[in-house]
């Protein structure tokens, strides 16, 4: 028995005739931070979307917690064998995602955004406790709780996006480029928060990032994605020393 919480097996995704993912295999072990690095257009976001059912697979399989959540054998396979769940059903199994571009609801308050993160929870007292926990972790959100989320700065919006994703107390947290477009000091802050979440909340984290140095420095394991293929996978500390990674992604 491995302690893999998420497995992607031979995942293919196409946009029309263009194949964005060409048979990707990824294994994420429980309790770890795993990162996926790659250039713009390598297929990083597509990969995350395929996990949560926002992007249909043309072929391949996604297994979460031992359960097949998505499966298709391609055009030739029998329809009855296919497994497909809508995004809300996949999320309800214990996956959460802070999407690309933060995806906050701009015309709702910070508090309402957090409440939406707890949409699946019916217990009002529990929601309240969780909100208080998030306010403790992200103090700025407490100060801004009545403000419209669209009026927050980019860094604050990213904090809100992560806090919101944690409201459902997920087993697996997917983060899509949390550092995108933020000032270096704020990026540092975000990455410290991510390590803290992993340590304290015992959440497994799958982090997709262009900022390779930061991502590799806080993660246990890393994958490198190039034009739809995984070209490297190793412990993050080894990848940081890998000459190819250094040349292509660390600018050394």
């Amino acid at each position: 028995m491995s302690n893999a919480i998420l497995e992607l097996k031979n995942v293919h995704v196409s946009y029309g005739n263009i194949e964005a993912l060409k048979g990707v295999n990824v294994t994420i072990n429980a309790g770890q931070i795993v990162c996926l690095i790659g250039a713009n257009g390598a297929g990083k976001s597509t990969l995350l979307k395929s996990i949560v059912g926002l992007e249909p697979l043309t072929r391949g399989e996604v297994v979460f917690n031992g359960e097949r959540i998505t499966y298709t054998g391609g055009d030739s396979s029998a329809k009855k064998d296919r497994v497909f769940h809508s995004t809300d059903r996949i999320i309800s199994r214990g996956i959460s995602m802070a999407p690309e571009g933060r995806g906050i609801f701009p015309e709702m308050t910070v508090l309402e955004n957090l409440e939406m993160g707890a949409f699946m929870i019916k217990d009002k007292a529990l929601i309240k406790t969780r909100i208080e926990e998030k306010y403790e972790m992200f103090e700025i959100l407490k100060d801004r709780r009545k403000q419209l989320a669209g009026s927050l700065s980019g860094g604050e919006q990213q904090m809100l996006s992560i806090a919101r994703a944690l409201m459902s107390a997920p087993r697996l947290l997917l983060l899509d480029e949390p550092a995108l477009g933020l000032a270096p000091i704020i990026i540092q802050n975000i990455f410290q928060t991510i390590s803290k979440i992993s340590r304290e909340d015992k959440v497994t984290i799958f982090l997709v990032e262009q900022n390779a140095k930061m991502a590799l420095s806080i993660s246990d394991k890393g994958y490198v994605l190039e034009t739809g293929n995984i070209v490297l996978e190793d412990d993050s500390k080894n990848l940081l020393e890998n000459p190819k990674v250094k040349a292509a992604y660390l600018g050394e």
Binding site: V52, L54, S86, T87, D88, I91, S92, S96, M97, P99, G101, G103, F105, P106, E107, M108, E112, E115, M116, G117, F119, M120, L148, G150, S151, L152, S153, G154, Q157, R164, S168, G181
Partner: protein
Amino acid sequence: MNLFNIPHNELLQHLLNGLTLGAIYSLIALGYTMVYGILKFINFAHGEILMLGAYAGYYVYYLICDPSQGGSFVIFAFIISLLTAMVISASLGVFIERVAYRPLRKAPRLAPLLSAIGVSIILMNLAALFFGTKSRKFDYPIDNTTIQLDGTSITPNQIMILAVGLIMMTALKLFIDKSRLGKAMRATSQNQSVAALMGINVNFIISLTFAIGSALAAVAGIMMSLEFKLYPTMGQMAGLKAFIAAVVGGIGNISGAMLGGILLGLLETFGVVILGIPQGLKDTIAFSVLIIILLVKPSGLLIKNIREKV
């Protein structure tokens, strides 16, 4: 004639008439704006959902009571027929979305629009076929003798329309602002895929939106049948005007639809009185308002432009 020459009781009279008409427009406009908010699409069959709701209410009403007898049973029967009409319209709205719009959700935006116009024409003709083209009168459930108040006359029916409009709109506003599902509706209208990431069943929210908008249309349809007449094409002009009201207020905005409806009702009433526009040309007011608002503030009165920071 100008506004200042009109005696105040007459002014009050026009205000009252305008508000009554406006309340009906608002109820219809809400359906357009809610659907637009979520699907970015104008449901041009909304007027026909209104019409069919009115017919449903009409048949239930006359099936269970004889309005000429009066009394509390007629009022009870009226409430039952109103509720039944709301349920039937809501189901119809959900059904239309399932068969005519959902399969086209990923198609170019023109496709569902054309589908909606098709549904509208089909429903109108089916209504003419089954119910006949003659217009009918929906008898008042209450004694509608005009009440005189300081030179202003008001009918109990007008009071009912205003009260029902106010109750429905307050309830809707509270639902959207405070309830869990209402918030999920707002979230879905702001970003559908992120709403799904919150565990919200987006298809359910879309069905719920159609159900609520259609139920409100049924209420408006019955109010219209009481105040005016019931006929297969009644949803056409009312639907178009309510659509204008939604655009004036800012399409996609709930408060905007309410405001737009009331404003349009008042403008139509006062336009005839003050500008001396002949009754027969009354409809031109709404369309002129549409053109002006599209030229001056195309986003509508209540749309704030909050730009999302990147």
